[in-house]
């Protein structure tokens, strides 16, 4: 059997039921758009979190009379500490001057260097979680000679919490999309099967194989999903394009989104067809 003929039959089916095809593809697209938005949001928050995690350090500011060698030794014994760097008052002042760039002349009005010397403590990868970071920081704080510490754990904590919430929404929307697309496609394909009941009956009576009878409906379901995906991708990209001007360092993983949408949409379309064919033809 020529595959091209089967595809022609599938396209004829779709053209015969244009309105229901576009309607169901539109609803599928709406679900996929919502899913795409949340996925891109998740990816972006995850990227920011990873970026911050990569740069997580504990700044331990020292008293003027601190015994530096002793502190380095003691901090080095704390589990999770990977590396310790001493930054003198002068070095800290130089860094600040570099960071201020063209505004660095503001520092010239200072009569003395107000910055304290510090130890910058890098942690093992597994200790870059907000809770573990906090543990190490509190141990460092207790040491004699440490004036105060700073680690940015509050920001990391917030990001990790947002990521958890948004992942929860992702799963919810994924589930809703999954069920909606399968339901809509299966109903549309069922309607197409009913409309072709006589043709299917004749096909079976003359000896057409099951694959021959069912293939066009699988193609139809797949195209529903893929069409919905493409529609979703176009709308999502437009939304992200305009959002990206408002959000700094926004990242749009276009190819990931393209592949995800088509594979996910197509698979759901096939699943919808399978359900419809099982319900009606069996």
């Amino acid at each position: 059997m020529a595959i091209s003929y089967l595809f022609q039959e599938s396209l004829k089916n779709i053209l015969r039921n244009k309105s229901s095809f576009f309607l169901s593809a539109g609803v599928s697209a709406a679900c996929l758009i919502l899913l795409s938005i949340f996925l891109v949001l998740t990816l972006n928050i995850s990227r920011v979190k990873n970026y911050i995690e990569d740069r997580v350090e504990i700044y331990a500011f020292l008293n003027d009379d601190a015994n530096i060698d002793n502190l380095i030794e003691k901090i080095g014994q704390i589990t999770g500490v990977k590396q310790i760097k001493y930054v003198s008052k002068d070095e800290a002042f130089r860094e600040l001057r570099n960071d201020l760039e063209e505004n660095s002349s503001l520092l010239d009005i200072l009569e003395r260097n107000p910055l304290p010397a510090s130890l910058r403590i890098q942690l093992d990868a597994s200790y870059k979680l907000a809770t573990k970071l906090s543990d190490v920081e509190s141990k460092v704080q207790l040491l004699k000679g440490i004036k105060e510490t700073w680690s940015g754990k509050e920001l990391l904590n917030k990001l990790q919490r947002y990521l958890k919430i948004i992942t929860f929404f992702d799963i919810g929307i994924l589930l809703i999309t999954f069920l909606s697309v399968i339901f809509i496609v299966s109903r549309t394909v069922e309607a197409a099967i009913v409309a072709k009941a006589r043709e299917i009956e004749i096909m079976r009576l003359v000896g057409a194989s099951t694959a021959m009878v069912e293939f066009p409906f699988y193609v139809e379901g797949f195209l529903h999903g893929v069409f919905g995906s493409i529609l979703s991708l176009i709308v999502s990209v437009i939304i992200f394009y305009f959002s990206s001007t408002e959000i700094p360092a926004f990242h749009l993983p276009f190819f990931t989104l393209l592949i995800f949408n088509i594979v996910f949409g197509g698979t759901l379309g096939l699943a919808g067809s399978y359900i419809a064919l099982s319900r009606i033809l069996q």
């Binding site: 059997m1 009576l205 003359v206 021959m212």
Partner: protein, 221 residues
Amino acid sequence: MIFFEHVSKVFKNGWTALYDVNLRIKEGEFVFLVGPTGAGKTTLLKLIYRGEEVSAGKLNVLNYVLHNNLQDKSITELRRKIGIVFQDFKLLLDRTVYENIEFTLRVIGIRPNLIPEITIATLNKVGMANRKDFYPYQLSGGEQQKVSIARALAKGPQILLADEPTGNIDHKGSVDILNLLKEINYAGATVIMATHDKIIAESSNKRVIQVENGKILSDGN
């Protein structure tokens, strides 16, 4: 070619459509199944093309053992060897005469380049080539039945089953259809025709099997 051995068919609702049928139909025979509506003729034909499953007994058609579980593939193979003609023609109304035949050939996997030749040759056989571009609703009942026969013939069946093929046709049309079926039989196919019209059957000088209440009452010429 076709063996029924103590075959019964009981439907899910408990209705016994056929009871203890014993029948043997040889290759090349022309057989009439005669009986009133509800006698079991259609069920008997359905068992032959596995439109229904046997409830009890043994049934063998073209060496396919139909009283056992049969795979989809075997049912498909069997049906490709059997042509079926129905009282209500079962033509696709949105396709022309040519397209109705072409459709059958395509769905059973005939090579596309052979389809036009086979289609026209089959339509010539039934005298409908000049109507190839007509839609079914533009044809008389007799002509529609000829197209239905052409569709059954196009795949070169070994058995042709005709279920009340003259039921919806006027007398002249019925005679034409009957003559056509005889020609098909003469060309080598086994023909089994179910009809409630005893006169048509008995005037044809062929084997007549009388079915009533799911049982075979008589079997002879």
